[in-house]
Amino acid sequence: MTSIPVDQDINREFDNSFDRIEGETPLVGGDSSLHRITETICGVAEARRAPKTWYVALAISLSLVGLLGAMVLYELFTGVGLWGNNNTVGWGFPIINFVFWVGIAHAGTMISAILLVFRQKWRTGINRFAEATTVFAVACAGLFPAIHVGRPWQAYWLIPYPNIMGDWPNFFSPLLWDACAVGTYATVSGLFWHTGMIPDLAAFRDRSTSRIRHTIYGILCLGWRGSARHWHIYERANMLLAVLCTGLVLGVSSTVSTDFAVGQIPGWHEAIFPPYFTCGALFSGFCTVLGLAIPARYLFGLKDFITNRHIDNLAKIALLFSSIMLYIYVIEFFIAYYSGSGYEQLPYLNRLFGPYWWLGWGILFFNGVFPQVFWFQWARTNPWICVAIGIFCNLGMWMERFVIIIISLHRDFLPSSWHMFFPTWVDFCTLAGSFGLFFTLFLLFCRFLPMVAMSEVKAVVPQGIPSHDIDGARPQLEGH
């Protein structure tokens, strides 16, 4: 086990990316005393100054948020004609970006919820962080349908509510399903995130030196005092939330996919869409967490908490979903061929040989082929390769949404209505602005909230586990 080639830089102190033969593989590196865990995680938020990189990144992100605000206002005062959308391609960038951001949100819920349900202890280092990406990505996702409806001040008409006009939304319409799914997702992921943070916010409160911090964190943590009777309910609540969120992971992208599958456009009207979208969402989400976790662990000195094992596991899951995606791409082409319908085959021929051919080949390469390098351990332990795949796969997933939406729409049944789609500068600036919003929220989170779930990490280090059995108290050690 000693001859595994690993990158020297990040493994100088600690490597747990392989299973030790003797004893248990530690989940936290270095000195894992309870106090040191608190010191390290709280230290990030308590330091008088953040790393210089943080300020630079925040400045860039904030300027992009400014750009986003300007673009949204420009659109509100002028109209959706500013975008590249036209009569043939009615769903342009806003819906591409919406599906893209909803997808990114999924990994956080998957890591927190599904891995909690399966009691995977290694998740404790990254779950908070991944949940944060969920909440922020849903915020970005929600923005796009709201501006795409054209009159955002009436977007609440999507929600069924009793009103004096006596009208109700069409319950058979995917537009209402979307409002239900995304509204639920935003509420639930926010609540799950906050509930998970309560004990750590209490730790921030107890260490705060200024009155303002003490008050704010004190209110946010609801006056948590670590009572065993509360822990008992808290753990049960977290498990219930996780189980419900697991259903949501499978439900939200499936609902989003019905926006397409319920339509009759070739390339959309497919039964494979719900699992296809869910896998794509999870794939892009895991790539995002991979791409964010590596810089964050360097920047804030969290190498002992977000360990090589985490990166390694994330890479393996990304590989799994990449392979499923490749399989689905192949199946889509096969079914189009097998259908024997020219209309059904046209969008697939257009993907590879039409005017947007480079996007069609791009998604096959970025999403299906490129991540296959994760079969090799040297790739999974090399931070540069991991970050590169994290970025390129997200690019690939964004291109996939473009391909699904634009290629199917721009050439449908009737050649006389065929029309190309060209995005405008406003489209690109709004997209860039949404990244700015995401990164601004993420950077603020890194600086002011507990980035790693301290109470959960403490429960899995040796000091937190009872050493002998008292009334069957010592739990089975799972998740290794």
């Binding site: 106090h35 730790a203 670590g226 008992h232 808290y234 009334d471």
Partner: protein, 188 residues
Amino acid sequence: MSENVMIVSNATGPELFGLMAEYPNVDSLLAAAKRVQTEGYTCWDCHTPFPVHGLDKVMKIKPTILPWLSLGGALTGVLIGLVLPLLVNGIAYPLNFSGKPYWGLPANVPVAFPLFILLGVLSTVVGFSLLCGLPKLYHPLFTVKRFKRATDDGLFLVIEAADPRFDVIRTRQLLESLGAVALDEVKD
């Protein structure tokens, strides 16, 4: 223990809330909790920075009713998701959407499912908050300086003065004999 000479509270001072003992590790806390439980105390609690596995069994904490609250909320969500479209589109104002039936189960699943999750989660969160009595921004324990470590690395056991078996001297002796590294009187 000698540095922690305790003055038994007089009637004039603030009322005694209870005794707070700190234990050095998880094992001694579990052992102490087991003993306190067998001694017959009822108004007592442990305060730890993380959920200590097995502590709820040792303390004989009754299983919480929270899952039933969640289930109730979730089922209400399903009911709303199925019945609201029936009332609105099916009965009150029937509309023909491309010849589809006025109400159909499959078409309502995408509405009923998110509502199942949404109300399930809301009732879980509200239930957690109510069952724990949170938010509660003040608690007598917050007046003890040492208690700040309950969210860091301190493992505490608190026996309240409200307990019928509470006796300042005997309870203190009990907590000390169980290996407490520090003992504080908590005033309200």
